[in-house]
Point group: C2
Chain length 381, copies 2
């Protein structure tokens, strides 16, 4: 049985055109981009081409692009690097950040920083009043994600950045779930640093970037050979960077198509959910078009995910990065959702290759499984 993939916020299949662009770097001798010889110079040129593609897709300049190996690395680099090069004060991060933002922020407590989370509303948006209250304490860094990975809710990062800048803080946004799913402009977002990742937009794993305002002082996370203007050492992953560049170009070029296609599928899906009285989280807010996060009262999300998996549908219970945990989603708890309901959370994230028929089949199977699981529960009770 082939399984239908509805987990595009976790990772996406590599685009065949991207693989095509990567293969020459994997099929023949490539050079270390730092090397001066023919092979090295060729690799260097390819990396600079990809840097321009990434910059173009996110409204930045090539000189602002620092390649890393993952979104997690970009976020750790941003939080620790921006904090380490200034006196220890307070780091603020939203209560719904991915752990690769919140955990580095908390880790900075060992360096004399305090870290504090900013509350969000019931609709999943950062509470700017609470942000302002938090900012009455001297604050060196504020990090708020552009798009939440579980709900798909879009934050007003430009406004949050303006408020934070007025209080003298540097601002970082994790835009990993925004790239390719909404118009993205580094300058307009008004932040000092922004994280992007390749494998969420049909690019390869192993490439990501921190887009950085060059006027800002940042400490390296990886020390060594001095690649990426001394800010991120390590031999560049050429094939992955080349693939990331093209994936950015394709995502940028096909944004309207992606938006229309996934939004249509989501409307179909959420209409089906509404017909059986299932709550969708964050649906009152602006969301990226591909994400649907919901819960069925009385059924564990984990149980439903495994039941759907057996029927050939791959969906998620919360984010992949916390799938190992059986705790209810911290995002939903921050939104004030009852922990019992939050435990039932399931995320469906659509991609360009999903079809209306697949959504129809998913809805059918979902209804059957809910019925079956509720009957099991009532027998057990």
């Amino acid at each position: 049985m082939t399984s239908i993939y509805f987990d595009h916020n976790a990772t996406t299949a590599l685009d065949s055109r991207v693989l095509e662009a990567m293969l020459p770097w994997m099929q023949t001798q490539q050079g270390n981009p730092t090397s001066r010889h023919f092979f090295g110079r060729t690799a260097r040129n390819a990396i600079e081409h990809a840097r321009a593609q990434v910059a173009e897709a996110c409204g930045g300049y090539p000189s602002q692009v620092i390649f890393t190996a993952s979104g997690t690395e970009a976020n750790n680099f941003a939080i620790k690097g921006l904090a380490n090069n200034q006196p220890a004060t307070q780091i603020l991060y939203s209560a719904i950040e991915h752990p690769c933002v919140s955990k580095p922020a908390i880790a900075m407590q060992a360096r004399g920083w305090t870290s504090h989370s900013i509350e969000v509303s019931k609709t999943g948006q950062v509470d700017t009043n609470h942000l302002k209250t938090c900012l009455t304490t001297p604050t060196g860094l504020v990090s708020v994600m552009l798009v939440n990975n579980e709900t798909g809710v879009i934050q007003n990062v430009a406004e949050i950045a303006e408020i934070s800048r007025q209080a003298g803080a540097l601002v970082h946004t994790d835009a990993v779930q925004g790239l390719g799913k909404m118009a993205l402009n580094f300058t307009d977002l008004n932040v000092h640093a922004m994280s992007l990742s390749s494998h969420k937009i049909h690019g390869p794993q192993g490439a990501a970037a921190l887009i950085l305002d060059k006027r800002v002082d940042i400490a390296p996370l990886l020390h060594g050979g001095g690649q990426e203007r001394g800010l991120r050492s390590g031999t560049e992953n050429i094939a992955a960077i080349v693939g990331f560049g093209l994936a950015c170009e394709l995502a940028h070029a096909h944004l309207d198509q992606f938006t229309h296609h996934t939004n249509t599928l989501r409307e179909q899906f959420e209409s089906g959910l509404a017909a059986i009285n299932i709550t969708v989280f964050g649906s009152e807010s602006d969301r990226v078009p591909n994400t649907s996060f919901f819960a069925v009262n009385g059924i564990e999300g984990e149980t439903l995910v495994l039941a759907l998996d057996r029927k050939g549908f791959a969906v998620a219970s919360g984010s992949a990065c916390s799938s190992d945990s059986t705790e209810p989603s911290h995002v939903l708890l921050a939104m004030g959702v009852n922990p019992d309901l939050a435990r039932g959370a399931v995320r469906v994230s659509f991609g360009m290759h999903n079809t209306a028929q697949q959504v129809h089949d998913l809805l059918d199977t979902l209804k059957q499984e809910i019925l079956r699981l509720k009957q099991l529960t009532s027998i057990a009770a």
Copy 2:
């Protein structure tokens, strides 16, 4: 004109069998290994298979393998992670370490550590008497590379580890240049942590590992989703890890063949150098079989590298990671080589696909270029 590649210590071409093993992970939907569904479980199994392959190739246990994205990351993780979880004392590293070991060690000075380099002999080996002297100061961590990337000289890591352990220090070795070029056994080396990298052994870029004695306390460098037992967060680069696993298996299986082949080429090459009175650095010491590091009096290494490049031969002046620098090799300076001669250093590192004919041609061209450059110099003088 196709160029002949003699820079295998910088990076190597991906083995076609390794690419073959990686492609299924790049051609179809793959899952995030943390996901519970079919795609996630399949990815998880592939990673655990690769973990066993890496462990087997380096004489470790699978549970000791922590995957990272690069050798630089593994070394930064080892140095900072082992230091951060103990009281600040002294870090010792050999004077010939790669900058991705020495710079993290120096960076720890900002956390209250002192860092100090251990001297090496004229033959490029760590001076154990100087190590013992250094260890009279309380020392938390000692890092000595197994094989130097420029000279190919092998260190007696087991002895260094024993001396360091007796003084109460943790011991790390950067074995990136040892893997695939010599017999490697984590247990026998007697260290607490060892770094390996994939792209030096015909594996893909984007995968590497820290092999860690699990009894040792280490702080994560990357915080987040809690992958790799909480020690290294970030979505696993499945294709790269699968490729790294197979590259380890192949390198391990073909070690004798590699040793015989590259040693034969090097003997041919160094006989040719000896005939024109060229100094080879570190040749009195045990070296890995593929590396030849030499200098021509009165000719800048950089000039010779570019001259050979124009004739279709890719060689290096020192390590790729410091190719951007015009300073003489820190490795040669540590060995007491005159800075003027050190500026002339050129590294040739052979691989399985190099042939005797290629070495013959390289020697011929090298002699012609030396003659030409010396004539230019004498005209200019």
